[in-house]
Amino acid sequence: MSNPYEVLGIAPTASAAEIQSAYRKLAKKLHPDLNPGDKSAEEKFKEVAGAYDLLGDAEKRKRFDSGEIDATGAERPQHRYYRDYASPDQSHPYADSSGFADFMEGDDAFAELLRRSQRARANQRGQDLHYRLPIDFAESITGANKRLTLPEGGTLDVKIPPGLVDGQILRLKGQGAPGAGTGGPGDALIEVEVLPDHRFTREGDDITLELPISLSEAVLGGRVRVPMPAGAVTMSVPKGSNSGTILRLKGKGAPRRGGGQGDQLVKLKVVLPRPPDPELEAFVAGWSKAKEYNPRGREV
C-alpha cells in the first residue's frame, strides 16, 4: 500500500480529528455501497479504509511513524458488499421502484417498456439453488432418505429413488429461493454423487461383482454366499467352474426405469490356498503327468 498519509491526503503532523475528518470525507465518496455502478470503488475504498485503520489508531500510528511497522497488512479483509446482493438481476425485498414510478404513468413507448419490465420483475420466480449430495453405492441401488444440510442454514429432506446413477440431478420443486409477487419459489437442484464401492461396478442396470472361490468349489462345485449392494444371497457354483466364468443372478441388479430390474453378474475367480499346500503340489505333480493339457490352445 502507498503512504497512508498520502492516501488520506493529510500531513504527517495532522491531528486525530483531522485524520478522522479526512477519512470520512473520502470514504463517503468511495464506499462501494454508495457507488453501486463503479467497479473500481471497492479497491479505492479498501486503500482508504486500510490507511485509516493504521492512522486512526493512536498506538498503531505511533509505531508506523517510528518505522516499527509499515503499511503492508493494513488492508481490511475482503467481504461482499450490499451492492453485490442488490445487483439488478436479483429480486429481493428491498427493491423500490418509487424512483421512476412517474415515468411509468405516461402512455408513450418508454413508459410501456418500463411497466412491462416492472411486471416481469414484480412476479419473478425465485432462483434455482444447486447442491451436491454424496451417497453410498448401496443407497444408489436400493434408494434412501437423506437429509442435506444447507450452507445457508437449515436442512432439506431428499428421497433418493432406487437405481439412481452418478451425476443424476434431482429437482425438488419449490425448495429454491423465494420468488417475488406471484412468481413462486425456485427449485432445489441436487446433483447426486454415487461414491464408488470397491466390490461392485455398474454397467447400465447390471451390477458386476468379482467373487473369489476356492479350488475345491471350482472343481467340485458348491453353494457360496454372494454379497449384494443390500444384503447377500446364496448361489450354486457348478462343477468345473473356471476363473472368468460369469454367473447371472437374474433380477438382482439395479432397478430399471419403467419397471423390472437388471441382473447381478458374478465373475468367478479361482484362488489357490495361501501359503501353497505341499500335499496339493504333490497331488498335482502326480496327476498332471498323465493328464497334461494346454489351455492356451495351439497358438502359444
Binding site: Y82, D84, P88, D96, F100, L114, G153, G154
Partner: protein, 95 residues
Amino acid sequence: MDKQEFLTHSGVQVQMLEFWLEQRWLIPEQAAAGTRFSAMDIARARLIGDLKTGFGVNDEGVDMILHLLDQLHGLRSALAQLRKDMGENSSPSAQ
C-alpha cells in the same frame, strides 16, 4: 440463519437490531420456523454499521440514505431489465 446466528455473524447488538427491524431498515424473511436472515441482510447490516459508526451518520440520515439507495437499486434493476428487453426485441438482422 436465525436471529442468534445473525447477531454472531454481523456483530450487531441485540437492542440495535430491534431498532433496525422497527425502522424496517432490515426486512428478514418470516418463515414458519421463525425469522430467517440472509447473507444479503448481513451485508445490509454491515452497510448500516459503516454509515453510523464509520461516517457518523445519525438515524434520520441512515433512513434517508437507505431509502435513496433502494430507489437507486430499483432504477438499476429497471435499466437492466430494459436493456435485456431491448436486446431481445432488437436482435441485429443477419447479414
